[in-house]
């Protein structure tokens, strides 16, 4: 077992991990941050996307030890300081960009990373960026609309 320390959602945390402990396991099991999900075992589904040092990362693709010293943001750290929904989260609710909610944390984290890189993406750019995040409920339609809305671009009423 090895001690790892990192900053998660602005708070310093540490814990004991095995060499094989994935970052997502550390977040879910050691820290109890269960908003980050595990939907596959081949790094395909994207339900575990978080931000590591500001970049979107599938937290099942790195070991907890590799994140030693990193700045981590998870879905639990995405709301406004007063606890209200941030603009991206609000857009997902306003445009019905989620149904069962299981892919949602990863989608929100990917969307936030996209908008940080590209503040006004086109629909095609959004779809391409989300190709590492699977959703089985929404058909992506309303996720795309939510991200367009969150970027401040007009979205046609339906």
């Amino acid at each position: 077992m090895t001690e790892v320390s990192m900053t998660v959602n602005g708070k310093a945390v540490s814990g004991q991990v095995e060499g094989r402990t994935l970052l997502v396991q550390f977040l879910r099991e050691t820290l109890g941050l269960t908003g980050t999900h595990v939907g596959c075992d081949t790094s395909q589904c994207g339900t575990c996307v978080i931000h590591v040092n500001g970049k979107a990362v599938k937290s099942c693709t790195i070991f907890a030890q590799e994140a030693d010293g990193a700045q981590i943001t998870t879905i639990e750290g995405m709301a406004n300081p007063d606890g209200s929904l941030s603009p991206i989260q609000k857009a997902f609710q306003d445009y019905h960009g989620l149904q069962c909610g299981f892919c949602t944390p990863g989608m929100v984290m990917s969307a936030a990373a996209l908008l940080a890189e590209n503040p006004t993406p086109t629909e095609a750019e959004i779809r391409a960026y989300l190709s590492g995040n699977l959703c089985r409920c929404t058909g992506y339609h309303n996720i795309v609309r939510a991200i367009l809305a969150a970027s401040g671009q007009g979205v046609a009423a339906e």
Binding site: H96, T104, L134, H141
Partner: protein, 787 residues
């Protein structure tokens, strides 16, 4: 003007707040003190004799608490099948045993053989690799038709063959149908495959068993669409635990699409092992494990023949299907290719004679059961493909051919045993023609052609039987359960309401839409209504969510219970205002005496019910809580018309979906935003089937498509945005809300539209020999068809 609250309003979903902030509580998020972890050892071969299991090495591995094989499951029954189909000779289907852990034989890759329970999930997994099953391999049974050959290897030795049933429907029509087809002006024939799919809800299945030695109560936390059904099946048939000693909790569930209806071995094992070991036992499915242990969907091989007169009127329809059951009968598997399929073969059309034959077959593959649409996509696909082919053969416009045969008068009794209560198929088609801009297609096609692409337009209709329900009817058809729904409405002393429903939300937004219904009926703010679901300890015995039934059946139960609340509240209000109950009116959450200015607020009445100082105690009981069980007298029949435009690249065979338009008649709409979302998701799964998805077994019975690396799920960049419309509304005539159900429509209606569009593109592009391509329409399949 869109409504801003109540029935018809696009109320924002209240459940979204917890899902968007990481506060959802899915089963894998639950950890019980002292829990142990289970890992299943699964067969790596498709078919073999299980001669023994060596667990000695595994037992010595670090952290291992106990290794279980079938002999350790003393007193545990097999997994039950909830539906018995009667074959065309009047005999019951062949029903093999379905042990929790393999006994004597393994019958598919993924069949559970043993379970390691250890202190951590990693230790359980490590030790599972040390379990050594001794398996003598047998030839696998994989081909549906070959499985029925006289000398075929049998999946179950105790059965007479691999045939589960040979079902004929309606058997009395058979000779007339044969005669009509033999003498018709034109007969169109089509052979097709409705390929096997893997449902793939994003949340893998999880089960946690818990046992309280102080009370003797067992609890199962599970990823289920219907916790009461699991409690009944597992308690009564597998573990012998009466309902009052067994609680089943299905908390937030990350999608189901049918695959979480069924009672699975892992649920029974964890509940059993928790008692045997005296500590909670948790199992979390790995995704690669889900591929070989979640029930699969579809897998039909069909020949369909449609007879028409010279004017294109449908005279008779005959279909013969081989349906794959897999290695065992999953919970509702026998009903899918029969009653959920055969009864829909009339589609939206007046076909006077229909005969459906289905041979259900056991093979060495994962069991197949209901997946979004369940039988109805298979029916719709065959019918709408053969109609399209007939239109091309007879030189009739495909929309015109459909219109000539539409059912236009309701109620309409089909020759396949169901009665459509209401509908307007011309209206949804008119709407489709309008919004899909068929008039502009030629110009779009010319533009595509200028870029070297072949453009095509595909149209189809669909109808489905939803609100799966009428207990008296499904009982006659072989269901071993009633299919009503239940609700309890509890009004608290200060006026807030808690609605406890047997329906289960795993993405459908019931916490919002059910609250809209109750708030609308009483005239209250939606936030005064809380919806509770998913726990057998605090909800009435209901049958859960599947078959697009939640609002039509579960919502109706809520309406009935709320009506009882209102009737009693009026009596209390009448007493408070010294008036006659029949003179009391309820509006905007206040009671008034008709024709006077006397009124009392909702909260005054609810308080009186629980503080009955001034109360008609001699006439009515205190309190304000009512339960209703609602069992409808018919299915509901949502219907619609879909259009798809595609571009095919003749160089590569790649299909691009340019547009997809859906016009649906769902009857009354409670929350249009949620309905749109349900249709989008259904279309995505339908287009996934049509373009990308296919479960593939090799000749040894190995599942080649066993992960997201190999099974092509639709991704954001595979799909277009959709146009959906549900302004055509013919309310259901027999439920109190007039709703029909919208959850499966997209998955049912979209595959034929896409295939019709590709065949159209290829025919317009000069490939007139192509009349059909089996799904999924991958570039290689389309390219090969063009060669």
């Amino acid at each position: 003007m869109p409504k801003d609250h109540g029935i018809g309003a696009s109320s924002k979903r209240r459940e979204d707040i917890r899902f968007l902030t990481g506060k959802g509580r899915y089963t894998d998020d639950i950890n019980l003190p002292g829990q142990a972890h289970a890992c299943f050892v699964r067969s790596q071969v498709a078919h073999g004799r299980l001669k023994g299991v060596d667990i000695s090495a595994a037992q010595k591995m670090p952290g291992v608490i106990r290794v279980f094989t079938a002999i350790d499951l003393e007193g545990v029954g097999g997994l039950p099948c909830g539906w018995q189909v009667t074959d065309r000779h009047g005999n019951p289907m062949q029903e093999p045993g379905h042990p929790v852990l393999a006994t004597g034989k393994v019958r598919h890759v993924g069949d559970p053989i043993a379970v390691v329970v250890a202190e951590t999930p990693e230790q359980a997994r490590d030790a599972a690799e040390a379990v050594q099953p001794d398996i003598e391999e047998l030839p696998p049974v994989l081909d549906l038709r070959g499985a029925l050959a006289e000398d075929a290897v049998k999946v179950h030795e105790e059965l007479s063959s691999n045939l589960c049933y040979d079902w004929g429907f309606v058997e009395n029509n058979r000779e007339d149908v044969d005669k009509a087809i033999a003498t018709a002006h034109h007969v169109t024939t089509l052979d097709l495959v409705n390929q096997r799919l893997i449902p793939n809800a994003m949340e893998p299945r999880v089960a946690i068993g818990d046992f309280n030695p102080a009370t003797g109560d067992s609890t199962l936390y599970t990823t289920s669409q219907n916790p009461h059904v699991i409690r009944l099946l597992m308690g009564a048939f597998v573990l012998g635990i009466p309902e009052h000693k067994l609680r089943v909790v299905a908390p937030d569930v990350g999608g189901g699409f049918g695959s979480k209806i069924f009672h699975y071995a892992e649920e029974a094992f964890c509940t059993f092992a928790a008692k045997a070991l005296g500590r909670p036992v948790k199992w979390t499915c790995q995704r690669s494990e889900s591929f070989m242990s979640d029930a699969h969907g579809r897998d039909h091989v069909t020949k369909i023949e449609l007879a028409l007169d010279k004017n294109g009127r449908f005279l008779a329809l005959r279909t013969q299907t081989h349906a794959n059951m897999g290695a065992y009968l999953s919970t509702f598997a026998p009903s899918v290719p029969t009653w959920l399929h055969g009864t829909l073969m009339a589609g939206n059309y007046r076909t006077p004679l229909i005969y459906v034959n289905v041979k259900a077959v056991f093979t060495n593959t994962v069991p197949v059961d209901a997946y979004r649409g369940a039988g109805r996509p298979e029916a719709t696909f065959q019918l709408e493909r053969v109609i399209d082919k007939a239109a091309r053969e007879m030189g009739i416009d495909p929309i015109e051919l459909r219109r000539r045969n539409f059912v236009t008068e309701f109620p309409y009794a089909t020759p396949v045993a169901v009665e459509y209560d209401t509908g307007d198929y011309h209206a949804t088609m008119d709407k489709l023609v309008e919004i899909a801009d068929f008039a502009g297609f030629e110009a779009r096609r010319a533009k595509s052609a200028a870029r070297g692409k072949l453009r095509g337009l595909g149209v189809n209709c669909y109808i489905e039987a939803c609100g799966i329900a009428p207990s008296h009817l499904v009982g006659q058809l072989g269901a071993r359960a009633g299919l009503y729904e239940a609700a309890t409405v509890r009004v608290n002393a200060t006026g807030g309401l808690v609605v406890m429903t047997g329906s289960h939300s795993h993405g459908q937004g019931h916490e919002t839409s059910f609250a809209q219904v109750v708030a609308d009926m009483i005239g209250l703010d939606e936030n005064m209504v809380e919806i509770v679901h998913g726990d057998t300890a605090n909800t009435p015995m209901g049958m859960g969510t599947y078959g697009s039934r939640s609002l039509a059946v579960g919502g109706s139960a809520i309406v009935r219970a709320t009506e009882k609340i209102i009737a009693k509240a009026k009596k209390i209000a009448a007493h408070l205002m010294e008036a006659a109950p029949e003179d009391i009116e309820l509006k905007n959450g206040a009671f008034s005496v008709a024709g006077t200015d006397k009124s009392v607020a909702w909260g005054d009445v609810t308080l009186a019910a629980y503080v009955p100082h001034n109360y008609p105690l001699e006439e009515i009981e205190p309190g304000l809580e009512e339960t209703a069980f609602y069992d409808p007298n018919n299915f509901t029949f949502p219907a619609g018309a879909y259009a798809c435009e595609v571009e095919v690249d003749p160089e590569t065979g790649k299909v691009e979906v340019c547009s997809f338009v859906a016009t649906d008649d769902f009857g009354t709409i409670v929350n249009p935003m949620i309905v749109d979302g349900q249709v989008h998701g259904g279309i995505a799964q339908g287009l996934g089937q049509a373009l990308l998805e296919r479960a593939v077994y090799d000749e040894y019975g190995q599942l080649l498509s066993g992960s997201y690396m190999d099974y092509a799920m639709p991704r954001a960049d595979d799909l277009p945005s959709f146009t959906v419309d549900h302004s055509c509304q013919t309310p259901c005539t027999h439920n109190p809300l007039g709703v029909k159900g919208c959850g499966e429509a997209g998955a049912i209606g979209s595959p034929p539209a896409l295939v019709n569009a590709v065949v159209d593109a290829l025919n317009r592009g000069g490939y007139e020999h192509i009349t059909h391509i089996d799904m999924p329409l991958t570039p290689s399949r389309v390219w090969a068809a063009m060669r």
